[in-house]
């Protein structure tokens, strides 16, 4: 593929509001996970909650979009001068030439969960104030962001469970390549809700403590929330020093099971292979892998087999989900931005909350931070339905 410039980016999760705070937490190996006190949830689990989401106000003219998910999007858009950079891109390319591609798994479903508690006792009707399109529907967050940024190009929500916002980069890349647009706001937004907290609990996939990716005693995920955005453009012939590019994308399907990964990680391996091929790189060209690393026994086992099979056992790897939690549909974009921060700062982030690496998982898992120049990072995102996507970012073609 032709590389794309990550012209501007921002990330908000429980480890930091904005890129600088996120980097600082990674440098300090700080986790944002805490015992679950979200809403009325009564579960023995840990969550990664972004502080200040409920206090965030949407602009007056977009009040119909008001819900936790869009408040999180709004809070994140305001960081790192991102909104200004998008307005500048719209000015430069034209509003019609900038698209919006956002991954989400549950969008504003919390709003519907709350509305179901307020059904009319006689008719069963939802409250009149409940707005389906601008809050519940998967498109709501993409629609909110395009209106907030006053963009008029193609806009879509990508909803492939936990691979959603990685795959959003693929949709944007194809539309830029086809010259339907010149720039794209790409990212992911997913926020805490009862559906995912109780849902993963029902599948016995969530841990009671903070999640411990690749630990011998790992026992499930911690659910987090995040919003992360990038402004993508065609890479110029001469790239400024310090710029980070999107170099490759690979996608695949497992064809195996709705909620369990392929046991040998065949789909995951295929996605990583496709990403390397699209970047014109070999396995040896990757300096660090940001793993999907959810901390369920089967996910980490399957991913380690896929990674070891393709890269061998020498490439440094870690999962940042011990710090951020699993931010589901936002994970692909959040971890793409963490990978960009890794390249820009020469940081291989050590996995937080992992004490004893599972000896059965034959990969080089980093527990401690390492500082070293990094040229290329591969980031994995895999989801329910067997949806897989790997991204490669780097400092040069």
């Amino acid at each position: 593929m032709n590389p794309l410039l990550l012209k501007h980016f921002t990330a908000t999760s429980c480890i930091g509001i904005g890129a600088a705070a996120t980097l600082q937490s990674l440098l300090e190996k700080r986790s944002g996970l805490k015992s679950c006190d979200f809403e009325t949830v009564d579960l023995d689990t840990h969550i990664g909650e972004v502080p200040g989401v409920d206090q965030t106000r949407l602009p007056e003219d977009l009040r119909q979009f008001d819900c936790r998910n869009n408040r999180l999007a709004e809070l994140a858009l305001r960081q790192d001068g991102f909104l200004g950079a998008v307005l500048e891109a719209a000015e430069r390319w034209g509003r019609r030439r900038v698209g919006v591609f956002l991954g989400t798994s549950t969008a504003g479903i919390l709003q519907t969960e709350l509305a179901y508690r307020e059904r009319d006792p006689v008719s069963g009707a939802l409250p009149a104030s409940f707005e389906y399109g601008p809050t519940h529907n998967s498109f709501s967050v993409a629609d909110y962001v395009r209106r907030r940024c006053r963009l008029e190009g193609p806009a879509v929500a990508v909803s492939c469970a936990c691979a959603s916002s990685a795959k959003a980069f693929g949709s944007a890349r194809r539309m830029i390549e086809a010259r339907l647009i010149d720039a794209a706001v790409v990212g992911g937004v997913d926020s805490l809700c009862l559906t995912t907290l109780y849902g993963f609990h029902s599948l016995q996939l969530s841990s009671s403590g903070p999640c411990r990716p690749f630990d011998v005693a790992r026992d499930g995920i911690s659910i987090g929330e995040a919003a992360a955005f990038a402004l993508l453009e065609r890479a110029p012939d001469k790239v400024d020093a310090g710029s980070v590019l999107l170099l490759g994308i690979g996608e695949s399907s497992d064809a195996y099971h709705m909620s369990a990964p392929h046991p040998e990680g065949l789909g995951a391996r295929r996605a990583m292979q496709a990403a390397l091929a699209s970047a014109g790189l070999g396995a040896g060209d990757i300096d660090y892998i940001n793993l999907h690393g959810t901390a369920t026994p089967s996910n980490d086992r399957s991913e380690s087999q896929a990674v070891a099979g393709l890269f061998g056992t020498a490439t440094p790897c870690s999962s940042t989900k011990g710090a951020t939690g699993h931010t589901l549909g936002a994970a692909g974009a959040l971890e793409a931005i963490i990978s960009v921060l890794a390249v820009k700062n020469g940081l291989l982030p050590g996995g937080v909350h992992t004490d004893e690496i599972d000896p059965a998982l034959k990969i080089r898992y980093l527990k401690d931070n390492r500082r070293a120049p990094l040229k290329r990072v591969l980031s994995n995102s895999f989801g329910f339905g067997g949806s897989n996507c790997s991204l490669i970012v780097g400092s040069e073609e």
């Binding site: 993409a142 193609p154 909803s159 492939c160 029902s202 329910f384 949806s387």
Partner: protein, 265 residues
């Protein structure tokens, strides 16, 4: 880059529409439209355990996907796919929200796994063995045109055949009052970069500012406006009529998608 592709397979299922040949007869005016509830076939491509777990939306998506992919002789396992839907499984969503509103909040793990927007794509991959990429989109009422743009750019940029599957089905009450989709409607298009023995037309797509088309028959226009996936009907009518011309499809509030149709003779 011109955004072009050949349509090499079609599938349709909806109220009063049972498959593409019958829908084509209705759309071209050789058969009278008779309203009737959509009949969704059992998805025989799924293993029996999975077959019992799927709801109406998955049955709908798999039915039109199978019809469109079977005409070309392409192996469905090798096909990249784009699934696009405004709302996925409304009954499943209702059951989850209902359970979460009650004390105890006991929810079914199968319902939770099926609640993902990409459930139909996941079952398609399991049923056909397809390990090729599958993207799953939502753009509310603009979902069909958004899916068409995604599929056309995949064909043009990656030069691979892509199966586009657009589908929507109803929510039960109380969500139905907020999102009144009346029944189930799906349309699938197999788009190929090269002309195929089964190709019916060449398409060329672009963004447009022109007014989108409605259908003159009030019953068919009723379908078009009731189901986001049925926003495809003006394009399907043009394919059924086998006439050359340009169709303007409804998309976002600020733009439309224009499709030039050149029938293969």
């Amino acid at each position: 880059m011109s955004l072009s592709a050949y349509i090499s397979g079609l599938g349709v299922l909806g109220p009063g529409l049972t498959n593409w040949p019958q829908a084509a007869a209705v759309l071209s005016g050789t058969e009278t439209y008779r309203a009737a509830a959509s009949v969704l076939p059992t998805p025989t491509i799924l293993p029996s355990a999975e077959r019992r777990r799927v709801g109406r939306t998955v049955k709908l998506a798999l039915a039109v996907a199978l019809e469109a992919s079977s005409q070309s002789g392409e192996d469905p396992a090798a096909l990249a796919s784009v699934f696009t839907s405004s709302g996925a499984d409304g009954h499943n969503c209702h059951e989850l929200c209902q359970a979460l509103s009650l004390a105890g909040r006991e929810i079914s793990p199968t319902r939770f796994a099926n609640s993902v927007h990409n459930a139909a794509a996941g079952y398609w991959s399991i049923g056909t063995g397809a390990m090729a990429p599958s993207n799953v989109l939502c753009a509310f009422d603009a979902s069909f045109a958004a899916g068409l743009l995604e599929a056309m750019t995949q064909v043009a940029v990656d030069q691979v055949p892509v199966l586009l599957v657009a589908y929507d089905s109803e929510y039960p009450e109380p969500l139905h009052a907020k999102r009144p989709i009346p029944d189930a409607f799906g349309a699938a298009l197999l788009l190929t970069p090269l002309r195929h023995h089964s190709s019916v037309a060449k398409l060329e797509a672009a963004l447009s500012d022109l007014k989108f088309e409605r259908l003159t028959d009030p019953a068919l226009e009723g379908l078009r406006s009731a189901f986001p996936a049925a926003r495809a009907l003006p394009l399907l009518r043009s394919l059924a009529m086998r006439t050359q011309g340009t169709v303007i499809l409804e998309y976002l509030d600020v733009s439309r998608v224009q499709v030039r149709v050149d029938p293969c003779v």
